[in-house]
Symmetry: C2
Subunit: 353 residues, 2 copies
Amino acid sequence: MSQKVYFTNSPAIAIDRYITDSGSPKTFILTDENTAEHVLPVILSESRQLRDAEVITVKAGDVNKNIDSLSYIWNRLQNGGATRKSLLINLGGGMITDMGGFAGATFKRGINFVNMPTTLLSAVDAAVGGKTGINFNGLKNEVGAFKEADAVIISTVFFKTLPVEELKSGYAEMLKHGLIDGKDTYRRLINHNVESADWDNLLDILEESVNVKRRIVTEDPLEHGIRRALNLGHTIGHAFESHAMKHNSPIPHGYAVAWGCVTELTLSCLSLGFPSEELHRFATYIYDTYGPYTFTCDDYPELIELMHHDKKNTSSEINFTLLKDVGKIEIDCTCNEDDIKSALDIFRDLMHV
Amino acid sequence: MSQKVYFTNSPAIAIDRYITDSGSPKTFILTDENTAEHVLPVILSESRQLRDAEVITVKAGDVNKNIDSLSYIWNRLQNGGATRKSLLINLGGGMITDMGGFAGATFKRGINFVNMPTTLLSAVDAAVGGKTGINFNGLKNEVGAFKEADAVIISTVFFKTLPVEELKSGYAEMLKHGLIDGKDTYRRLINHNVESADWDNLLDILEESVNVKRRIVTEDPLEHGIRRALNLGHTIGHAFESHAMKHNSPIPHGYAVAWGCVTELTLSCLSLGFPSEELHRFATYIYDTYGPYTFTCDDYPELIELMHHDKKNTSSEINFTLLKDVGKIEIDCTCNEDDIKSALDIFRDLMHV
């Protein structure tokens, strides 16, 4: 794990120390309009090293993670006199760390960049692991690079003003990390209430959860094998997300992953003997925290069609990451449509739909 | 050296074998309008595996190595159904291998690509070593990535229709590789006449020359140290190139490098004791092959100003790669302006200007 990840309640001190140690002569901060208003002023007031930094602000929202915004960032770096020794700080959610990471990976063939995630979802997911990129022609993350941030500074102080829905969305990815890591990590997550304002405890379990991802990414940075473990809950989760979008009632990414995990653990029960009492406990936690996702058996063909579109699929079969038990991963599982339909039936029962 | 480089008189057989071995389900060929007319039909007629390949043609010329052409390539890959398992073949000069390499490095965060250089300059320089990129806002290679082609197929059969000026331009980079490698390689290059049509001998010495670059790149892929040896002749060469451009009489890149090598070997004599008889022998070869580059001492301030702009400079001093002798490299040499002016004086003497 060559990438430095700092977990801290004092992010301004951490970034100041990083800049001093790196000896970087010039610093740029990439942020979006929301973060520029709500988070940036706090960091700027607490930091000594960021006073002369040049701020690059782009419009918020995944729809702006595109080639126009990327060109704007390259332009600002160029006009700001950025050299190969300059530093780019990506301060924002996943949209900012994805796009800023790609800008940093490619400007002059690569300058150092640091991610400072301001949402729980980006802290646990996008900011760590080296996947950078932009959307292109309406396809998500179609263009990008594998390039790890030189450092990541993770702090729960940024999350205090987040809507609870955002916190829950990020927490779903943490739960997924617990499921693939093992019972100890998983139990601590299931016993924490994300709606409480216990930021110190959240920082501790966040560190544990991020380190699960880091261990897997170190083993397989380019996603040829075990990194696909991180795909748990996502094949069906993405299908739920697209289904909701098509029916004009979009759901947060993390909610889709939470429901996707329940359905894929059901599949794991059916095909790999995942313990059914563990499935029921997990489903209850998800139902209590996220409520149900509602659909009928008339939606099954559409959902299965959407699963076929997942970009991890290389053939006509649908590829899943499943579990034999908590922490016991099986990548590259293929399931037939009958099993998937049974899992969707059981999911609806578990969600009291 | 993990990158496969094939030196062959039968490039169609080499690419067919590569495609069969790689098992890639879909192939795209990137080329420019000139290459599409003069080289592509020959390859297509001789290859079995390229019959169903999708051809992406962009406008020729370095001015088109830009974000618009890059977006067009991403677009064509997307619309052509390219997946992570697809293969992109870059068939052309340095403009095509640079831009196609960057497209390949970034489409879906990286697909396999193969370079088939059709000019001597791109064979010996751009196609090997992993520097990919595009120009941006008028600055050369401002945006890009370090990513080696999965394979490079080098064949002198492509060069038979090149103008002799193009051949000589590429040969200058080969001479540079000889100078930094050692006396054996260097002697063989100095004893070859690039204006002869001895394609088999050219393929042999080209292989030797390309392998010099590969050894250096393997040692220092990201140009933190010894890779700067490849910069020999380029600090002053780039200044000559920009100077000629500004005065509306552009010179080929390789010619600028050849003259830059003479001047930097002169500097090497002055500051590191490079043998003066070796300098004179080299200068005679360059004069006989490339003729002189003409300027007066009134141009010195402008030339020195241009040397300051070289992107390898990190401070106000001018950074050179010099030689103590053929094959004895000293990177990160700084010279004062008096030495540079003396070297320019001696260069003009050696070129009978």
